[in-house]
Symmetry: C2
Subunit: 206 residues, 2 copies
């Protein structure tokens, strides 16, 4: 007799608990929930996962997820090909898109340089970024990486790689977050936002 | 262009967010995690869900989940068929089993009587319990339902249904939880545990 009295349930619970943030108790709750639903519900979930993994590919140009060779951004002629926003992963594409402030293309690195985690520049899509800058005549590369040690390392590495090319390399502004109380802003961020202080009149957007 | 730039990803996220306690943000995180894994990982998860829902049935006798007509408990000759523990759902079978205190069989009601939720006795496996008591010569029915209004209602309903049959009907002891501070025990529980106070010498289990 297996621990849950059913090898099939055991197996589903084991697979569900491999998901990040889902422990064995939650996995059991989800599996029992699925058992109570119509068969169609469980089948739709199972097959949506399989079909997604089977058919989603990566864009040959920017390495965003895509169902064809080029992702919807790269194949959209209304996007500005002169400006490329460099992000860590696919999710950050969605995060940047949600601001509606970037109208250009993307380049997904697939991670950040992190010697501690064994991630070196060659594991990331950095060479392909340099190649794009050379071949596509990109005018501006916006580094939109997390303001962490890994993000800063990666920013600097890419900056050096692009230094000799005729491209403007910009990065996200660092400063106090909008809506945050100054009292709770860490001193590093606050210090940086004093160094990078802006002319007040420049803050009036149109 | 769909909201996530991929109908396949959209679909998987939509199906995942139907799971209880999983919102859209978590569903997206899980889907992107699965995209980063080997294909086999996603396939194993998807097919484990489908196969579980396809092949798990319910025990004809006690309505616990089962992969055959009789569940592992009902078909295990070492379990005592004279004592049947009545539980709300499949999960509670596991909860009771984890105590190693019940060596008999189970009967899974599939819910509790709850007029507010539209659950009446006829929606539950109560008639089949009465039938089992009559036909199987069960000597004791242990009501192991939650100490809630719905649990109490269901306890009382079952008690009345079995009143004329030669069976002992018992229920879980109500009292202060082991390890809890008395100060934080609610007065109802504390009051009940005074009413049902035990001889101190009876508490020495061998």
């Amino acid at each position: 007799m297996s621990s849950l009295n059913s090898p099939l349930l055991d197996n589903a619970v084991a697979e569900l608990s491999k998901l990040p943030g889902i422990g064995r108790k939650t996995a059991l709750r989800l599996a029992l929930h699925l058992l109570r639903q119509e068969k169609e519900t469980a089948f739709a979930l199972g097959s949506s996962i399989i079909e997604m993994r089977e058919n989603i590919k990566y864009c040959k140009r920017c390495h965003n997820i895509s169902e064809s060779d080029l992702c919807p951004f790269c194949s959209d002629s209304r996007r500005d090909p002169d400006t490329v926003c460099v992000v860590e992963n696919v999710k950050d594409v969605l995060t940047v898109e949600s601001t509606h402030e970037h109208l250009g293309l993307y380049h997904v690195l697939g991670g950040l340089i992190s010697p501690l985690d064994g991630i070196s520049p060659s594991d990331l899509e950095i060479e392909s970024l340099v190649k794009r800058v050379k071949e596509e005549g990109i005018k501006e590369v916006i580094l939109a990486l997390s303001p962490t040690m890994e993000g800063d390392t990666t920013n600097f590495y890419i900056y050096r790689k692009l230094a000799d090319l005729p491209v403007k390399v910009t990065m996200l502004a660092r400063g106090v977050a909008i809506g945050n109380e100054l009292e709770y802003t860490d001193e590093l961020t606050l210090g940086r936002s004093i160094q990078n202080r802006m002319l007040f009149k420049d803050t009036f957007h149109e």
